[in-house]
């Protein structure tokens, strides 16, 4: 399935990317699974999306936990904890 992935703030800067269409391999059905899939790219991806890093996720613009399901066409976002305005 295909999903749109967006990155914000320090995560965006460190990855050097803000938007990407990703073909998610079969077997990956959660936000946490997608994060692990991206982490497996290695390099900066492994570093920025490491399990020890506090990275928050949203699906279709609602913040979710790592176990949240993703489906084709979803907009998934990864970003650092919000700091407020």
């Amino acid at each position: 399935m295909k999903v749109t992935v967006r990155f914000f703030a320090s995560v965006k800067e460190q990855l050097g990317r803000e938007l990407e269409e990703i073909e998610v391999p079969a077997g990956i059905s959660t936000v946490g699974g997608l994060r692990a899939h991206l982490r497996a790219r290695g390099g900066r991806w492994a570093e920025v999306l490491a399990e020890t890093r506090r990275v928050t996720a949203a699906v279709n613009q609602d913040m979710v936990k790592p176990g949240a399901a993703i489906k084709p066409g979803d907009e998934v976002a990864f970003f650092p904890p919000v700091t407020g305005g």
């Binding site: 967006r6 914000f8 703030a9 320090s10 800067e13 506090r54 928050t56 949203a58 613009q61 609602d62 913040m63 976002a77 970003f79 650092p80 904890p81 919000v82 700091t83 407020g84 305005g85």
Partner: protein, 116 residues
């Protein structure tokens, strides 16, 4: 609200607006509020720039003050904004502090949620 350093305030277009709309609706369900308006800037901000305006209309000042404080606490802690401060030594992203959540915690907002 004023700041001493220049900063860039990043937001998530769409999600940020919706989260502010939801918190305003939550305020209206908790207190007797006639209407409210929230204006929040994003992008590049200079020292002493005004950043946020929350206006609440109510027949009762107690409700107006409480609703306003509730919305402001949310904006300062849980709303999807990220601050990058620009000082002479360079720029840095402001880290989220758990102590920042204390004010919002009073209102029993769930951590990491845009929903009250």
């Amino acid at each position: 609200m004023v700041r001493e350093v220049a900063m860039t305030l990043e937001h998530y277009p769409g999600m940020t607006e919706n989260s502010i709309r939801k918190i305003a609706e939550e305020a209206r369900s908790r207190w007797q509020v006639i209407d409210c308006t929230v204006i929040h800037r994003y992008g590049d901000l200079q020292p002493n720039d005004q950043i946020v305006l929350v206006a609440v209309a109510s027949a009762h000042r107690g409700d107006a003050f409480a609703a306003c404080e509730f919305i402001m606490d949310y904006l300062k802690t849980r709303a999807p904004f990220w601050k990058k401060e620009h000082a002479s030594g360079g720029s840095r992203w402001v880290e989220a502090k758990s102590s920042d959540d204390d004010a919002a915690e009073r209102w029993r907002l769930r951590q990491g949620s845009t929903k009250p």
